[in-house]
Symmetry: C2
DNA sequence: TTGAAAGCGCTACCAA
DNA sequence: TTGGTAGCGCTTTCAA
């Protein structure tokens, strides 16, 4: 039903090839012919058929993105900035949500492979590396974001999670906390890295995690960790000596933790200071505005998209790139124990 | 590079057609042959080429979604539920963010048309109806969500905005507010509908909007209305008589309004009660938990997706469907002036 | 039950 | 500068 090259060719008494060349700005076309063709194309509002084009060229001009949860502001932000970069180069974005389910994720990836997207970008919920072998077999370039895997030589764009943990922990210590606890996340690279950073920072101040001061978020069934954070913080508060600072794996768990602290009639940050990670929107409107480590989600998206476009245009596989974004602490009331100095909010 | 039907055919000494039939579960294939073919397909991890298939069938098994802002929890939620429904039927989702820019939106829609998606779903930032004519010309079915247009006979799925306004306003009145103000949104159907509902509800209680009690969010440059809500509320608070309740166009503007109220050293809800719209996540963790009208974003997504799948499988155009989701109030502290009764949070 | 032929809309290659 | 031919991987139709 839509206009085809052939239609224009017939109307103008030219060949399909000529029209095709005009379409793609091929040099060897007469100025007059070109003008006529372009005019008619515009009149008919001609749109080339992507399927046909893909079939010939082997390129779909499509990027595939798989995230664990589109509703999570971090991933929404990443998706958005990928989409902006991609669009500028004529690429579209096929997005799917794996719901943190590794099997579903594999199915989604297979779907993207079947559709022959030019590059796959995935924030993976896998525990094994198997499914990436599948992608490699098909020779589709792919980029991991946010979460990485030991021993997998793959493109990666994400925040430097050890730096996240170190930054948050050092900040708490600098604010006068001496018993900094950590609510850690599940067994994925982000949580492990942040835990490492936490330990490293304590060490660099000559401190150690106190017994019971590292608790796990657990899979409390809640999506993002609010409930888990609440439970974990309750456990922490019952321990002697009680922590005077908590670095939480992510913002939702920090919200849960803050609720537990307030419920226990303790003050934030005077009794217990809290730092989260993710720097989600609306932080300024919380009961106690939450200090948080910003992961630079838009930067991650932009980097990943830029890399994707490079990969999409290479014929041969190139050496894997690893890009680590530097995190930054955004200090708000939940950890501000020392009078405001030059550091607040605008720190780089 | 990936396996083709022809490869399997050659290996097994069969014709391409036979393999193709097995692939699509065609009945007239010998049991033995079918088994052999399926086995080999699995071994080679065969994936049919979508581009080739689309070219023949004219179907892309792809839905296109255009939203003003993927970061907005409402649209993220809608996108997610569309994706879930679509996936179950083998459809993928091409998502793009228009950034509330009508021109950009048109370009995105053109892109989707060029890609011959089976259905376009769009939460539109247009002020005119022109661009939908474009879609109609190409005979691509489309569904408007969230925002609709007068005089455009199109499929629509969204919340009943008048009911939203009426519900929120009645709730405030029932909580004892007598001077209910409204911070209204821009000139789109959602804002207009909510304003109408607000007026209707006032009327049904024999009340009228007081002079200056309807203020506009304005385009204060902030993305979602926090700053606009702040400014608007400040203006409202300076008016005599001062409002004792504010129904805000959306949650971000309600957050801004609450900040203005607290800044003015007034109490929420005792001095001024506040209701927002959208019921975004984390509401429980706000300084004052925000009452909000839930728009049923997941229901909207599900409905839209179901409708899209129907449209994708019809040959002929069918009469436009309009589905209005009923909103519900979720009462939290910001509007709870009367002791908690059976109504709180669990109201349906 | 199987397969040969034609064609979807486009691009690449080479000849005119 | 222009166009004929071939073919991308698949489905549809019809004949064997």
């Amino acid at each position: 039903m839509p206009t085809r090259l052939k239609d224009i060719a017939n109307e103008l008494g030219l060949s399909v090839v000529t029209i095709s060349k005009v379409l793609r700005d091929h040099p060897d076309i007469g100025a007059e012919t070109r003008k006529r063709v372009l005019k008619r194309m515009r009149e008919l509002n001609y749109q080339p058929n992507f399927a046909a084009r893909s079939l010939v060229s082997g390129k779909t001009w499509t990027l595939g993105l798989v995230v664990p949860d589109l509703l999570h502001p971090f991933f929404a932000d990443v998706a958005k900035s990928i989409s902006v970069v991609a669009r500028r180069q004529g690429y579209s974005l096929l997005i799917s949500s794996s719901d943190e389910d590794p099997d579903l994720e594999v199915r989604e990836i297979k779907q993207l492979l079947a559709r022959r997207v030019d590059v796959i970008i995935v924030a993976s919920a896998q525990s094994s590396v198997e499914c990436f072998r599948l992608i490699e077999e098909q020779k589709t370039p792919y980029i991991l974001i946010d979460r990485r895997f030991r021993g997998l030589d793959a493109n990666f764009v994400g925040v430097d999670d050890e730096a996240v943990g170190a930054l948050a922990t050092s900040h708490l210590i600098e604010q006068g906390c001496r018993r900094v606890a950590h609510i850690r996340g599940p067994e994925v690279s982000t949580a492990v890295g942040r835990l490492e950073g936490y330990k490293r920072a304590l060490g660099s101040y000559g401190l150690m995690p106190l017994p019971g001061h590292i608790v796990s978020l657990g899979a409390s069934g809640d999506h993002r960790g609010e409930k888990g954070g609440y439970e974990a913080a309750k456990r922490l508060l019952s321990i002697k000596p009680r922590p005077d600072g908590i670095f939480c794996f992510n913002d939702p768990s920090a919200l849960g933790a803050m609720r537990a602290i307030l419920d226990a009639r303790l003050r934030i940050p005077q009794d217990v200071a809290v730092v989260g990670c993710g720097n989600l929107s609306y932080s300024d409107f919380l009961r106690v505005p939450l200090s948080s480590v910003d992961q630079g989600s838009d930067k991650i998206g932009k980097c990943a998209a830029d890399l994707a476009l490079v990969l999409a245009n290479r014929k041969v596989r190139i050496k894997s790139k690893v890009e680590l974004i530097s995190p930054r602490v955004v200090v708000r009331a939940s950890s501000q124990r020392i009078p405001i100095s030059a550091q607040a909010d605008s720190v780089s």
